[in-house]
Each structure stands twice: as C-alpha cells, then as structure tokens.
Assembly symmetry: C2
Homo-oligomer: 311 residues x 2
C-alpha cells in the first residue's frame, strides 16, 4: 500500500532558479497521477528518478501557462520512449487543440492513445474511480475556469483479527468477504462468531486535496472536509491581500483558514510569488491559524500513511 | 566588444537529468540572441544568471518540440516581468499560431510587441543586420523544414596607429573616418601621410554557425566557410550511420568532416542522443578528423575573441 505525493514545482507564474512552475505527482498504490504540468516538469521527474511511464492520468487545473506548458513535452517524450499504454488527460476544454496543433507542426503521429476529458468548472465530478480509489474535481475561484482535485482511498473492508484465524473452523473465501463486509460467521458446528469479536476496524482511508489557483473560497470546504493533506496555494501574504483578491489568488492566512475550517490533518503551502526570497514570515502567518503547516519545496515527497517526508 | 555563446541545452529529443533540450544564447556586444528554445530554457538562463530581458531576437531552427517547447513560457515570463521592448521571433511558418493559441487560452494580452518573421527553408537569407553585425539563415537537410544560422561581425574599419595621433596635425572626425576607410591623409601644410603608414589592420571579424538538426549536408559549407566556431549536431556515432541517415541526423564523424571542409576554427558537438551515457568515444570519433573539437555541456560559455571557456 502506498499513498504519497511528490512536489515537482512550487513557484507561481514564473520559475525561479530554485522553484519550477506547478506540478505534483500523486502515487496511489504505485499508479502514478500527475497534477498540473508546468514547464520543466519532465526534467524535475528525471531528477527525482520518477518512472515517467507509470503515469496513467494527468489532471490540469486550468490553462494558465505555469500549469500546463510542460505537458506537450511530456506527451512527446512518452512517444519517443515507445509508450503503448493509454494516457488520459483531464483538463479544461481547449487544451486538446493546443497539444494537437503542436504535434501537427512536427508531423508527429503519437504511437499511443491520448484521450482528453473536459473538466467541469461549475460543479464537482468524479473523474476516476476504481474499487480502491477515486479522484474528484471541484470548482475553484480563479480568473479563468479552474478546478481543484481530491485524491481519496475508499473505505476499506473490516480486517479479520489474527486470533480468529487460529480457530479450528472451515471457512471459504466467500465467507471471509462477507465477514469483512460486516457479517457474523456461523461455523459448520453451529457456533456463532459475532462480527465485532472476530474483526477490527480497518485503517482510515487517506485523502489529499489540491487547491491551486484560487481566491479564498469557502465553498471548497465541503469537498475537502477532513483530508489528511491539503495543498493550498499561498501566492501572497496578508499585507498584499487586496492584490491577492484582484489577481484571484490567496494569502497564507487565507490558505490556513481553509485548512482549519476543513479540519485538514496537514497543510502544504505552495505557488509562491517570486517576490518572496525568504518564506519564514509567510509560513509563520499560516501557522498562526493552522499549526501543522509546511512550505512546499521542489523534490519533497510526503507519505500520507506515515507522514514521513523525504527528498 | 563581446562575442560569446552559452550552451543552455545540448540533449537530443528528450531531456536527461544533466542535459536540457536545444538552446544557445549568443552575445554580440551585449545584445542577446537566443537560438532555439527547448523546454526549460528560461530556467537554464536563470541558473546561468543571464539577464532574460536583454534578448531582442529569437531564432528557431525548426518545429520539432525539443527546439521550441520552451518559447511560450519565455514569452509569458517577459510579459509577467513587464517587458516593453519589441521581441522578434524568426521561425518556420506555423509557430505564431501555436503561440497565439496558448496565449488566448490563458486570456493573455501581451504588453509588449511580439513580431514573427517566417524563415525561408529553401535559400539563405539575411534576418538581422546592423553596421556591426549580421545574422543569416541557411537551409539544412532535416525531416521537416529546418534552417541553420550564422552570426557574424562585419569587417571592421582600419585602426589608426597610436604613433599617428602624436603628430601635430589638425584633423577632423570626417578625416578620421576617411582614413579608417583606407584613404591617405593630407595635412594643412600639404604633408602626405600614406594610409599604410598611419593605420594598421583591424581585428578579423568573428563568426559563429549553428547546424542543428541536419543530415550530413555539404551545401552548408559555402555558408559557414572559415567560421571561428561551428556548433554541429552529432546525434549519433558512425556505428549508427544508417539510423542517422534515416532520422535525418548526423554522426560525430560527419560533423567533423563538415568542420574540416568549412575550415572552421573550432567545433562544438551537441544534440546527443540520450542513449550515450558517456561521450568520450563520440568525441574521439570527431577528433580523428578534426582535432579542435569539444563536447557541448549545459552552462558552458565560450568567448570567440579569446577562446576562453567558463561555466
């Protein structure tokens, strides 16, 4: 089991020498999902030794360049590396034309299926779903149509207690699935095992939400309630609150307020304006409202299960 | 006076962890020219502490992604940094539509003039010319329409000998210009100073040529004859000569042959296939034909006047 995120870019608008434009890799049980894809994302992945071809689904929040200018290069690289698996791209309408025009200019006929899905800027939608996981989009409040994304494990079945497995009873796979779903068990001899006695609660499902780019926008709280980890943009600090408002961005304090109201477990701030050379004050501003806050840095990996951080 | 180049990317097709896709910055007397602009070029310039806004002219050899995917990000960054000066882009027809479509998607109205010039894939053309410098394009032989570029200083006027300046003669600015152009000088007293006695030869004009991407293509020799520095692609080695031919690329030996036949002063090899982890053999192959050969590395600067190399 794995559920981790790796920050590939944490700068706003223009890259700096230390921060690339927006991108995050999400690893849910070794299926890789990419979220936003600013210029240089594929190079960041190479530096982090991430296996590019594991990416099956790419989610683009909106069509500002710092969130998608790296996509066409990644799509081309998949082609040059001989990819055969489908690649699904979920993005606002318009991105497909941008990619196709560039592939046409180089007379490139992709050797793998590239499938675009338009996201809905007006209401939440499930974009991806399996028995174990789902990915949802939800509206944000930005200058152009923008969505956030929620990555969530589904509720897991109940776990059989080890002690039960030592009883001398005949049991089928079907019985086990029923018990995991909450049923009592009756043995061949008629002995009744109460579900509560032979099972224990499964681990809580984990979840991660991404809110970039957006103004302070309380309607998101319902979609990200109790996420283990929230990535929220904090382009500015409170002393530039009016600029943030005008440019449809958030301050660190606003990001922290959203994290607090959503009962998030942990907050990662990102999408920093290049004007801030040091971010200590920006972090302190958020921590005054929401203690468990951290600054995004390019290359940082956070494991949602263990809260372990690696670079 | 300055004439230097800085390698910003030297990989073919896909970036590696150490090499970005193609781009070279040319500095002629502190006017900056960018040649090709693969993904991540603006980030490479930031790392090399290059003043982005000094770039006035960008030349794109062809519309394969590894030569232009970084352009739209650079254009956006100029906008976000408040540029007001014109930016001229010389490229094959089609690039303007690609850039405009992406700016439209983000509802960006550039605040500076962006002017596109179509290059001619069939014959050489002067793209840029001042009293001191010129930039020419010339055809290469690649899978899609591609041009190389020549950056050249013009012949400088003759230099007045210091000894002449100590003579006690009345002389006007107009007289000096005539002498520099080759005229003798006659003083008020009727004394004749022969031009050969009072002037010396000016420094030889410097030149730099860029040939990427191309098959081995002898017609280029006429356009790059006696360049001080030639950058030629060497995607493959001789053992893959047939692959090079098929993919419209060159081997290291072919690049060296062009340098030798063009009487180049120095050869820089670049655009290496990602298959080569070590390039010693590729370099040796070229040096067997043309001794003064060097491998491009990202961040390398070469001063054409002094042949000094810095990183």
């Amino acid at each position: 089991m794995a559920f981790s995120i790796t920050i590939l870019g944490s700068s706003a608008a223009t890259p700096t020498s230390r921060r690339n434009p927006s991108s995050i890799l999400v690893n849910m049980d070794y299926t890789y999902f990419l979220m936003d894809c600013g210029e240089g994302t594929q190079i960041q992945m190479r530096k982090s030794k991430i296996k590019l071809q594991r990416i099956r689904h790419i989610f683009i929040s909106h069509l500002h360049g710092d969130h998608f200018f790296g996509l066409v290069g990644l799509i081309s690289t998949f082609h040059l590396l001989g990819r055969t698996e489908e690649l699904h791209v979920y993005a606002p309408r318009g991105l497909q034309d941008i990619i196709q025009l560039q592939l046409m200019a180089s007379q490139t006929q992709l050797i793998y299926p590239l499938i675009f899905h338009d996201t809905n800027p007006d209401q939440p939608e499930i974009l991806y779903e399996t028995d174990e996981h789902l990915v949802k989009s939800f509206p944000l409040d930005h200058r152009i149509e923008t969505t956030g994304f929620l990555f969530a494990e589904k509720q897991k079945p109940r776990k059989l207690k080890k002690s039960f497995l030592f009883y001398d009873v005949e049991i089928t796979v079907e019985d086990i699935l029923k018990i995991k779903a909450g049923a009592d068990f009756v043995s061949d001899t008629g002995r009744i095992f109460k579900n509560a006695d032979i099972t224990e609660d499964p681990p809580q499902p984990l979840s991660f939400a991404y809110c970039s780019d957006t103004r302070y926008f309380e309607p998101v709280i319902q979609y990200i309630n109790k996420v283990n980890l929230l990535y929220h943009e904090a382009t500015f600090m409170e002393d530039m609150k009016s600029v943030a408002q005008e440019k449809y961005h958030s301050t660190a304090l606003e990001a922290a307020t959203i994290a607090k109201k959503a009962n998030a477990g942990m907050l990662i701030l990102g999408h920093f304006s290049a004007r801030y050379k040091e971010l200590d004050q920006l972090l302190a501003e958020a921590q005054s409202i929401f203690k468990n806050t951290q600054l995004a840095t390019d290359g940082l990996t956070i494991d949602l299960g263990t809260n372990e951080k690696t670079r």
